[in-house]
Amino acid sequence: MNAHYELPLEDAGYSFGFLDEYAKKEVRRCILKAIAIPGYQTPYASREMPMGRGFGTGGLQLTLSLIGADDTLKVIDQGSDDSVNAVNLRQFVQLTCPGVAVTEKTQEATLIQSRHRIPEKMLTEQQILVLQVPYPDALVVVEPSEARRKVMHGEADYSRLLVKLYEDVVRFDEITISHRYPTRLNGHYVIDPSPIPRWDVPRLHQSPALVLLGAGREKKIYAVPPYTVAEPLVFDDIAFRVEDFRDANGQRIACRCCGSTVSFLDELIDDAGNVTHQCSDSSYCEEEQETISARKQA
């Protein structure tokens, strides 16, 4: 976003949160139904936003409908507070919601909008996580017609999705889905949990915090309510696995910055071809580094 951009205030001006109250009310009513029917993709109008669909407009509309002047917002993109998408969205909220505080620290936030990651730190009941979703329907890989997919979802008929997973096992001895892993909520609806890595999927299960998912282009809102059963779709004899960060010797790879061996790592390859690893959650990594340097000084 252009740093000098100002909202045109000379006409009627914009209301708090950019969206008009009718738009917010519609999103709010959809959020309530989405919580009441865990995993059901509730359709909503998805208003035009001053940014292209696919840049987090679904998450942004959720955030703007939820936020109040006493909220503290954190926006992350792939775990980072400083990437372009996160900075743009955060600036837009600051511009349109006067009084809202922003933070990079997970534990200080009351509202967290995220693209493709769940923060490493355990969320609490006082927090709401909003995830941006590009493709909301887990069934789209096996059924092109939305009308038929809606029937399949209603009947909790996921046999064709299981066949797809079975074919993976037959061909590759492993389920090859790396992110957007289909996850079943409360024993009924299967959701696409947005492109979070497998690492984050178990953290949807019995989460103390409400998780809301918004797809702006596909015009859907769905939710993982707190303390809800969320199970990745698997077979009885093939267990769900998260990413394996062990090196050739079976040693867990540590973050090159903070040395953490319990976080989700990004693989970085420099010009010389050397491979290093670093925490994907930048706020977690910085805090670990601060803890280490504080310990050294003590």
Binding site: Y22, R28, C30, I35, I37, Y40, G154
Partner: protein, 192 residues
Amino acid sequence: MKNEMTMVEVDIWHPAQQQQMFRSLLDAFSYPGRIQTCSQQAEPSLALLAALLDGQTTLSDPQDMLEESIWPKLEAQRVPSELAAFVLLDGSHAPEFVPSLGTLEEPEGGATLLLRVASLHDDDSAVLRMRLSGPGIREAVSISVDGLHQDWIDARNDWVSSFPLGVELVLCDAKNFVALPRTTRIEIGGAA
């Protein structure tokens, strides 16, 4: 008196107040069985309707609990109870209709029923005791209600029996409210 009334109305029609009201309701839906206190001077049932409704939604008030002057402000379309997205009711009378339950493909069509009751308690002190479990509830909790006809819970349990179809209940007394989404399992008289 008139001034006081105006003040109350100013409150619940203000967008910032409606946002706060919605966040309380969001907590109520996220954690069913947790009794929320309405931060406003108005009755929770009216403040919730003000926060949620606009011209796109439908409301039914079969027992004429709303003053006629409120309707234009709510903007909602007046329809029969069987079709309405929101229904405002007196919980002390037994149910006399079947609300919209949604369809298999579009379960969000299930109605939200706001039931006015005498009082809500987070212990076993009132007449109708309910034990709640399900999504949003870590360990089963008990609440009790005065002024709610038991047929409501029996009928509701019937309406939500084929998930994803069902209705959401919001029980409101003079100051507090609690949400019972369709996923919540309600056992009547369950000992704590």
